[in-house]
């Protein structure tokens, strides 16, 4: 697998995680896979970034973790979006919208 340049996306990983969890609680593997699949594999989520990001978000109180059961019937750490996380997601989405509109205007102008 080739690694697409996703430095730009690195900062956006937090927002993608929050967005993924807005659909419901889930564990780390599923979060990563969901982002990759939904983006049509345009975004590659590295494990080395994913888990630290999850812990960081948890520390900031945007996520909370609980032990649930995975599809395999094993104990799994499930992440859930908190109210504060939901607010943060809204803020990041709005910011992204402004940012991408701005970038598009510049890059795609004729």
């Amino acid at each position: 697998m080739s690694k697409p340049s996703n430095a730009l996306l690195h900062g956006a990983l937090d927002a993608l995680i929050l967005k993924t969890l807005a659909r419901g609680p889930n564990h780390g593997y599923a979060i990563g896979r969901y982002i990759e699949e939904t983006s049509g594999d345009a975004v590659l989520v590295e494990e080395g970034s994913l888990y630290p990001a999850l812990y960081r978000l948890e520390r900031r109180g945007w996520l909370e973790a609980e032990w649930g059961t995975s599809e395999l019937g094993r104990r799994a750490k499930l992440y859930r979006l908190t109210d504060a996380g939901r607010d943060q997601l809204a803020a990041e989405t709005a910011m992204w919208r402004r940012f991408s509109a701005g970038v598009s205007k510049v890059l795609l102008s004729t």
Binding site: G28, E47, G48, R59, G61, L72, T82, A84
Partner: protein
């Protein structure tokens, strides 16, 4: 709450959490790859490789996880605190009677403590308001007989020039006098004045707010210079800035105002003006004029001990040089703070601190008692919480939060009470108890004290009930009906025992101090003239330059006042009973007996009086005669002695004997030899003098001074009504009105002031003891009422089985008697042990005073009977049928 409790119940160590999480990740990845058709072994390797450097990832995650946990713990702690606080407030609001009683109890305890703390802070903790106060010492001369003698100006100068450990040494006169200031409008007024030597302001590090203080040059020039207080400048001179350098007419001469010092500045005694007394080029006889209170500033690198050794060596040198005056005279240094505050005030502060401390303990015990009673009621609630998963620590924390909330409310109310007490305190504190530079203020330190006290108190009275409330068995607590649970009964009884013991201790202390007050107030003063009014007459020296002129003035004033309607008698005296200031007295020898050494002669007080003094005060002459017209200035020197003096003749009649008298401060001076013509009845010099004081009266005509007390006895009734006509009479004699009349008081006022300290201590301690007794009785009432309520059914059964009303009442009373008896016994033992601690504050009563023991027991008995009455009557009214039906 931000984070769910569930995530915490499942908490596992961070390492394990990470391992499990990553293992699951790899497993899921592997499975997905296998599902896509990859070989299982390759799939696992691929999934693992995607994690990259696993160890590094784990380290990053562990680090983040730890930080997360720490943050969460803090957040959780605050969450719980907020939760506990909200719960506590709800609980307290739900039990308003309990909350009211508990907070008021705490407010009283903390309020009283904060006010007393203000006193202790001002007297014991705070440094004196001078620059680098640690370097300041009071310096005394010592002799074999006197540990603290005032200092002669020449000795002080030599200490200063020969000592090597002092930056500067200066002195002042220990008493505040007055100067007559001639006003622009022709009216004279007296301004309080203290004599100081030139260096005093430099030694103390006082900066003037305007002008300058005294200089060495003033001293050398013997200039008439004064420094005045800011207060005088503002009130008398309307803050006029041009006052500096101006001349004032004081006591008939001109004095230049050189500076103004801030209002807070005072030495010993309250003065408005400090006049410089030159000490350069004094005659050698000033060597034995022991007149100055001396203050020195020790060099910063020198200890007080080293300074004392240094000046001691100087004094030893002076003793060799001037054996006539200085033999046997040493030096003693004391920290200026200790010397100015004085042992009496220090002891009073400590006494009050101890007393209010005990009151606070009783308050705590009472609130703890209330909490225990509540805990019993709340047992089921607590058990349910425990069953729902709250740990014991968690519940204790919740209960402690409640008690701290109570204490904080109590502390806030208490600081208001403290502020109120301090607001009225100045009018309650007797004059002269506090040195003038000590002021009681309600400030941030007092508020901080209240806050700290409230927190400590909240923990102290909260821990025991919280601990007890949480030690129960779940099933028992939930399953039982609350009536049969007699929980905490013994703990509560013990608390009340402790309260009673402390209250008894305080009552006993109050009793001893009240007996002291009775002793100092109830003694035989020797004279019977409470309504006699006295005033200080201070004629201007320059107007009556000769003794004849002055005597004539006094005689005319006396005759003029005698003619005023309502005046029965008029006399003069230079001191009044119960108002002698410590001027050192006179030493005496009986002529014809072997001469005594300078330091061996007995001391007598020396009082100058006019002939009518004895009749005016109704003070009997018990032998010989009083003074009369024969005793003129040019007549035979005579005196009258008091009964204590007469005893030095060992049974012989003193009449006709001669004594030689010298001022005690100058034993080398030429003696006055006087013939004793009469013996006057003993009067008190001070209310708490340890033994009868020795006194000699000298006729005024033979020892004139230019300020003297005028004493007037009315024919009947109120002497104060006579004051205007007396003033008019004086002004008829001195038409220029340059006589200043001040300090108008009755002898009754003087006696009241003289016993002020004793009264203040007795009243304060009695008030606190009464508060303590009240609190202890509230505590006793509380447990009795509670026990009775708990045992209504029990009593009902007893009644049904034939017990009489008397029988059941006896049960209640026996219960109470055990608590009171044990408490009283402990309290009396403590009192017997502790009485000696306040011995120095007692007079005319022993620390183991039996009367006080009996009185305390009676007071306690009556108070206890009152608090038993309610619960006992309740028991007596129990109807067995109703009690049993309701259970």
């Amino acid at each position: 709450m931000k984070r769910s409790l569930r995530s915490w119940l499942w908490r596992i160590p961070v390492d394990q959490e990470i391992d499990e999480e990553l293992a699951l990740h790899v497993e899921m990845g592997t499975r997905e790859l296998i599902a896509r058709g990859m070989d299982p072994k390759a799939a696992r390797e691929w999934a693992l490789s995607r994690l990259g450097d696993v160890e590094r990832l784990k380290r990053t995650m562990t680090d983040l996880g730890r930080k997360r946990d720490r943050d969460m713990r803090v957040t959780q702690w605050f969450d719980e605190l907020r939760q506990d606080l909200r719960f506590a407030v709800r609980q307290l609001a739900g039990a308003p009677a309990f909350t009211l009683v508990a907070t008021l109890t705490l407010a009283l305890g903390i309020g009283a403590n904060s006010a007393i703390f203000a006193l202790v802070d001002a007297t014991l903790l705070r440094p004196l308001p001078f620059g680098q106060p640690d370097q300041l010492v009071a310096m005394w001369e010592t002799t074999e007989k006197t540990p603290r003698s005032y200092v002669s100006p020449l000795n002080m100068l030599d200490w200063h020039t020969r000592g090597r450990t002092f930056e500067k040494i200066a002195g002042f006169t220990p008493t505040v006098g007055g100067m007559v200031m001639a006003g622009a409008d022709g009216n004279a007024e007296t301004v309080s004045r203290q004599w100081v030597t030139a260096g005093i302001f430099d030694v103390l590090g006082v900066t003037p707010i305007a002008g300058r203080t005294f200089s060495q040059e003033d001293d050398v020039k013997r200039a008439n210079v004064v420094v005045i207080s800011e207060a005088l400048w503002r009130t008398r001179f309307n803050s006029d800035p041009s006052l500096i350098g101006r001349e004032l007419r004081l006591d008939g001469s001109m004095w230049t105002v050189v500076g103004i010092v801030p209002s807070g500045f005072q030495l010993i005694g309250q003065s408005s003006m400090w006049a410089m007394r030159p000490i350069t080029n004094l005659p050698p006889r000033a060597r034995s004029a022991y007149a100055l209170q001396v203050v020195g500033r020790v060099r910063p690198d020198v200890s007080i001990k080293a300074a004392e050794a240094d000046i001691g060596a100087v004094a030893a040198g002076l003793a060799r040089e001037y054996p006539q005056t200085n033999a046997g005279r040493g030096v003693r240094l004391e920290k200026l703070h200790d010397s100015m505050i004085g042992t009496d005030l220090r002891r009073t502060s400590m006494l009050f601190l101890g007393v209010v401390g005990f009151v606070l303990l009783i308050c705590c015990a009472n609130v703890a008692n209330l909490l225990l009673a509540r805990a019993t009621v709340r047992r089921r609630e607590l058990a349910v919480r425990s069953a729902l998963g709250a740990g014991r620590r968690r519940i204790i924390r919740q209960l402690l939060t409640e008690s701290v909330v109570l204490a904080v409310i109590g502390g806030a109310l208490g600081s208001l009470i403290g502020a109120a007490i301090l607001w009225v305190a100045p009018s309650l504190i007797p004059q002269g108890l506090l040195p003038p530079m000590v002021t009681l203020t309600f400030d941030a330190r007092i508020v901080a004290f209240c806050a700290v006290t409230a927190l400590l108190v909240g923990l102290v009275f909260g821990v025991m009930p919280a601990w007890r409330a949480t030690s129960f068995s779940l099933t028992e607590a939930i399953g039982s009906d609350s009536r049969t649970v007699a929980g905490g009964g013994r703990a509560r009884a013990l608390l009340v025992v402790g309260e009673v013991a402390l209250a008894v201790l305080l009552l006993f202390g109050a009793g001893l101090l009240l007996r002291t007050l009775m002793a100092v107030e109830g003694f035989d003063r020797g004279y019977r003239a409470e309504s006699v009014i006295s005033m200080l007459l201070d004629p201007l020296g320059s107007k009556y330059p000769t003794d004849e002129a002055l005597q004539q003035f006094y005689d005319q004033v006396e005759a003029e006042i005698r003619a005023v309607p309502g005046v029965k008698d008029v006399a003069y005296a230079d001191a009044l009973p119960l108002d002698f200031f410590d001027a050192g007295g006179f030493s005496f020898e009986i002529v014809g007996e072997p001469p005594l050494g300078d330091n061996e002669r007995p001391i007598t007080e020396y009082q100058v009086v006019s002939p009518a003094y004895f009749s005016t005060l109704d003070l009997p002459i018990v032998a010989g005669r009083g003074f009369d017209a024969r005793d003129r200035g040019d007549g035979l020197p005579v005196c009258i002695v008091n009964e204590a003096f007469a005893r030095s003749f060992r049974g012989k009649s003193p009449i006709g004997q001669r004594v030689s008298l010298r001022p005690a401060v100058s034993p080398q001076s030429k003696p006055q030899v006087r013939e004793i013509v009469g013996v006057a009845r003993q009067v008190k010099g001070r209310p708490d003098e340890p033994k009868d004081f020795v006194q000699v009266y000298v006729p005024m005509a033979q020892n004139l001074s230019d300020d003297i007390f005028l004493v007037v006895r009315p024919t009947s009734g109120d002497a104060e009504a006579l004051v205007p006509s007396i003033r008019e009479a004086i002004s008829r004699i001195d038409k220029e009105q340059l006589v200043s009349v001040r300090d108008i008081v009755t002898l009754e006022d003087i006696a009241w002031t003289a016993t002020g300290r004793h009264r203040f201590r007795a009243v304060m301690v009695a008030a606190f003891a009464a508060l303590a007794l009240l609190l202890a009785m509230v505590g006793l009432f509380g447990i009795l009422a509670y026990t009775v309520q708990q045992q209504v059914r029990d009593f009902g059964v007893r009644r049904a089985l034939g017990a009489t009303t008397g029988d059941v009442m006896r049960l209640v009373i026996a219960n109470a008697a055990w608590v009171i008896g044990t408490g009283a016994a402990i309290g009396l033992v403590l009192a017997a042990l502790g009485g000696r601690l306040i011995q120095t504050l007692l007079f005319g009563v022993q620390p183991l005073d039996v009367t006080t023991f009996v009185l305390v027991t009676i007071v306690l008995g009556v108070a206890a009977a009152l608090s038993i009455l309610g619960p006992a009557r309740r028991v007596a009214r129990i109807d067995p049928a109703v009690a049993l039906r309701n259970s």
